[in-house]
Every structure is written in C-alpha cells, then in structure tokens.
C-alpha cells in the first residue's frame, strides 16, 4: 500500500512537472531558486515601505540582494505562508496588529532576538517592552508603525462628536461606514462589554453573550450603514466622494487624507477604542534569517525609512527621530489630545482564539443578514 502511494505521487510529480516544464522552459533553466542563495533576502511588504535608495544602500553595504514582494492585504500574506508550510519563499513579512497573534499561533513567525539588533535602542521606548508584543514570553516582531481605530468625520457636515453614538444617529442614515469585524469590538465596548476578550478567559458563555449583543445591535442598525468596507483606500475614496460623512477608520488612511488638507478629523470618542502596531517579522524556517536581522538593524539606524513608511501608510512611526523628518501637516495628522490618547487600549495577546472565532462568526452573520 505504501509503495502504491509513493508511486502514484511520483507519477503525479512527473506529469505535473512535465506539463509545467513545457510551459516555462526558458525560465526553468535557472539552476537554483532565488531564495536558496545565501546572499539574498526576501521581504514581503507594502509598496514604498522600504525606500528605493535605502534598499540600494543596504545592498551595497552588505552585499545582500534584497527581493521585495509587494503585498496589499494581510489575508493574502497569511494564506501564502500557511500554504507554503515548512518551506517559506519569503524571509520577512509585514504583519498588522490584529494578525500578530494569528501568525504566531500558526507557527509562521520566528521569535526575535534583540541581541542581534544593535540599534534596538532607536525604537521608541514605549514599544520596547510593551506587554502586547510578548507572546509566550518571547518577542515576535519589530514594531514599525502604530495606529488606532478612530472615529473619522467630514467636518463640513458633522460637528465634533464625543461618543460612538453618532454612528447610529438617524440624521446620518446611509452616511456611515465601518469594517464589520473591527467595529464589532468597538460596539462591544460601547455596549459596556469587553471588546478585547481579555476578561473572558475560560468564560465562553459570557463572551458569546457579549458578542451576540453586539451582533444583534449591528444587525438592527443595518439600515443606517452605507457600506461595510475592507481596505483603507475604500474608506478614503468614500470620504472624498462624500458617499459617507462618518466612519470607523484606522488612523493611517484618515491621517493621509488630513495631511492632504481634506476636511477630515479623527478622534477617539469617550467610550474608547483599540490601538495596534504593524510589525516587521522574521518568518519561521526563514532561509536567510541572519540577513533579515541586518535589515531590521539598518531600518532602525535610518529614520528616513520610518518616515517613508509613515508617508505611505499614514500611521505614526515607532522609531526615534522620525517625527523630525515629517512636515507640520504630516505630524499634525497623527496627533491627538492627551486625554484621547489615554482612551486607546492596545490589542492584547491573550485569549485570541476565542476572540477571533467568535468575532469572525458574528461578522459573517451581520454581513449575511
């Protein structure tokens, strides 16, 4: 039986390989795949996160060839790594806050050894030992950008809201938008529950009750919302086109509009909200982990990289020296009054499985309703 399986698999390989080979003859001649070479670093990240002149200088200084795979979406990045299993084709990924623990739980990341990053001190001290960065007492990524889920308004039509209430105000019917899964946790907070599930460890009934309350609330409010969006560029476009006046919005995309001089304001309502970081991570089983450490160190050494990331994404940089490189508008776009800053709670790293499972299910239910 074992032999049969083996031979069937071999046939499969042969035939599949033959078909693929016939299709790509000119390209298959290359002796070894690019990621198996030693002086190479493969990075999956967003457009313009690593400025061209920085990459060029890094390549010249270290002799390491940097290959960049552009991504546009966290889900794709996760699915690709998961599909590749033990032989990842990338050494580094760029993970957004709410995905951090998912990547770790699926064994897709390698723990970070800060001893190998001499410039670690250039990371803003607030992020050097933040509790949410630690899972199983280990650090799994270099925080590069910080953001929060704010309430964005078009100031021409909406006057200084103090509460998330305004999202359900009849007067703005059909003028609001949000990301269902993100807003669900805020609604839980708004309804007086724990939207981050940290107090629901081993209390699934209580968590389910809280989730259901938020879910039913959002289903009841379905007539109010113009659109459930998914990407930052969508909410930017809706604001510009005046399809909406109000939205739950990640700080980055809104800050980019503000920095452009559009009549948008971002605030944290009194019920509070959640914060998160983008991190640069080394992949589990990465073929070129040592080179990845060198890149992380170079990024921390050069605030121009952080500035480029901020300009591209709108999010605030976590690297010292970056604000000095930004212009006034860009700086102002990311600043909040101190009392509002204190309302931001960073997503924790505990009880994620329960949270993800319940929120994803409830999200599907809200969308389908």
């Amino acid at each position: 039986m074992k032999d049969f399986t083996a031979s069937r698999r071999t046939t499969l390989k042969l035939l599949g390989g033959a078909a693929a080979g016939a299709l790509g003859v000119p390209y298959i001649i290359r002796p070894r795949p690019a990621w198996a070479q030693s002086k190479v670093l493969n990075v999956t990240t967003y457009d313009k996160f690593l400025p061209a002149d920085f990459v060029e200088k890094f390549q010249k200084d270290t002799g390491i060839q940097v290959n960049i795979r552009l991504t546009d979406d966290q889900g794709k990045q996760y699915n690709l790594l998961a599909a590749e299993g033990a032989n990842p084709s990338t050494d580094m990924v760029t993970v957004a806050g709410h995905r951090y623990t998912q990547f770790i739980a699926s064994n897709l990341l390698a723990p970070l050894d800060t001893g190998k990053i001499p410039n670690w001190k250039n990371l803003n001290p607030a992020y050097q030992n933040a509790p949410w960065t630690k899972v199983n007492d280990k650090l799994w990524g270099l925080p590069i950008l910080a953001g929060y889920e704010g309430l964005a308004i078009n100031t021409n039509y909406v006057k200084d809201p103090q509460s998330w209430d305004v999202m359900f105000d009849e007067q703005y019917k059909g003028m609001t938008s949000y990301v269902v899964s993100d807003f669900m946790t805020i609604v839980m907070k708004y309804l007086g529950f724990d939207g981050d599930f940290t107090t629901y460890v081993d209390k699934p009934e209580e968590a389910q009750k809280a989730t259901n309350a938020a879910r039913d609330f959002l289903i009841k409010q379905k007539g109010m919302v113009r659109k459930y969006y998914d990407a930052g560029s969508e909410v930017q476009q809706m604001f510009l086109n005046e399809d909406i006046y109000l939205a739950q919005c990640w700080s980055g995309p809104a800050a980019k509009l503000i920095a452009e001089g559009h009549p948008i304001r971002l605030s944290v309502p009194k019920e509070g909200t959640f914060g998160f970081c983008y991190t640069l991570n080394i992949v589990n089983n990465a073929a070129n982990a040592e080179n990845a450490y060198k890149l992380l160190d170079a990024i921390l050494a050069d605030p121009a990289v952080g500035a480029s990331m901020t300009r591209q994404s709108g999010f605030a940089s976590t690297i010292s020296g970056v604000p000095e490189l930004l212009n006034d508008l860009e700086r102002a776009a990311n600043s909040l009054p101190q009392e509002q800053v204190e309302r931001i709670v960073f997503f924790s790293s505990i009880n994620r499985d329960m949270k993800n499972e319940m929120i994803d299910k409830a999200t599907a239910e809200v969308k389908a309703a």
Binding site: R9, G16, A20, Y46, D47, K48, L70, G85, L240
Partner: protein
Amino acid sequence: MRAYFNDIPRTLLTMAYWAFVLYLLVPLTLMMAMSFKDANFVAFPIGDWTLRWYAQVMQDRQFLEACLYSIVIAAAATFSATVIGVWIAMLITKASSRWSGVLFALACLPAVVPGMISAISLRVFISTIDLPTGTAAIVLGHTVHAVPFVVVMALTRLRSMPPNLVDAARDLGADSIIAFFRVTLPYLGPAIVGGMIFCVLLSVDDFVRTFFLGGYRPTLPMLIFAKVQGGMSPEINAMATLVLIVTAAVGLYAEYMTRRSRSR
C-alpha cells in the same frame, strides 16, 4: 420595399451599438481625466491639471518592467491555453454524449473557483509536484485559469460545424491531423481569436494567482494593487491610461496590417 423594412431595425441596432460604446467608454474617460489631477487622491472636482503623473510613470522602471513581465507571462499562458483548450474541445465533440458532459464540466472547473481558493490550491498543488514558485508556476496557473474560456469559445463553433467539411477533406486523402489543420482550424478562426483575447485579458488581469505562485518580480496588476493599498492616486490612473493608449494603438496597427495583407 425591402430597404424600408431593413431600415428601422438597422437604425435601432446602430443606436444600440453606439449606446453600448458610450456605456463602455464614459467611465473610462472619467478615469483618464483623473490622471491629470494635481493631487495625491483621485476625486471630483479635478481642480488643477498636471502632467507630472505621466512624467513620473514613464520614468518608473518598476512600471515598465512590470508591463514587460506581464506581456511575457500573458504570451506564454495564451499560447499554451489555446493549444490545450482547442485540443480539449476537439475531444469533447468527438466523445459520446455521456462523456462529453463530464469532460465539459471538468474543463469548466477552473473558471468557477474563486481566485483566492484557486490560488491557494494551486500553491499547495505545485509544492506536491515540486515545482518552485516563479514564472513557470505563474504561467501554469494562468493557463489553468484560461483553458475553460478557450474550450467554451471553440465549442461554440465546433458544435455547429458541418461534418461534411471534414468528410470532404478525408475523401481527398487527408488524414485526421491534416484535416484538422487544413479544415477545422481555419473554420474555428474567429472563435480561437476570441478565446485568445480572453486568455490575454485573464492573464494580464490576474492578481491573486500571480501573488501566490511567484511574486518577487511584480506583474502590472500586482504593482497596481500594491499602489492602491496606499490610496487611490492619479499615478495609477496614468498607468492605466498609458496601457489603454498603447493597446489601442497596437490593435489599430494590427487591424491595418491584416486589412492591407488581405487586400493584396
């Protein structure tokens, strides 16, 4: 009398055509107009006009390389998908009616699978056959996706092909292969051209499969998706406008050349 009857439907059809052309072109004209907007985000009103996005795009090596890479992949995928698709269509027409249904359903399979699922399953699949990610894998993925479209196009004409055409060729001493190349293939002409257009479009448009199967050399849609992620900028519109202008020019030139060679 006949001319009179002909005229009303003719006018209506002409109107339908031009209305449809408007439907296709108006949104694109807006998109092109936006490429001249002097701001970092696309939206009405346009306000100040500028050519700087074009200057930027035309100097952007990454954009030019992505275009070239997309063309190479599209050409390879189109060629292989056309050959395989027509071959499958031939098999379906020759098969008994029970088998032709099964074969047809199999042939259509990749067209129905949503992109993400198809991409993931292809990624898992190529690792079981030890094919590394890269250009070959991308071409394979695009070919799999495009084959159903060629099959359906080819069948559109094959099914109603008069059988006596091939019989006549056989009577003249041609064996099956020669009859195929001399009779069937020319008869399929317009359908194959249509199928190839689908192949090129599907390949040039594909983003998810390309991301999963290759990746370190961006294709045009990968580049555009990555740029949209940072906000919809007129730069993207300028890229799309350039692509449109170049393809329209190539199309017109090809049309002119075929017409000239025919009239000779």
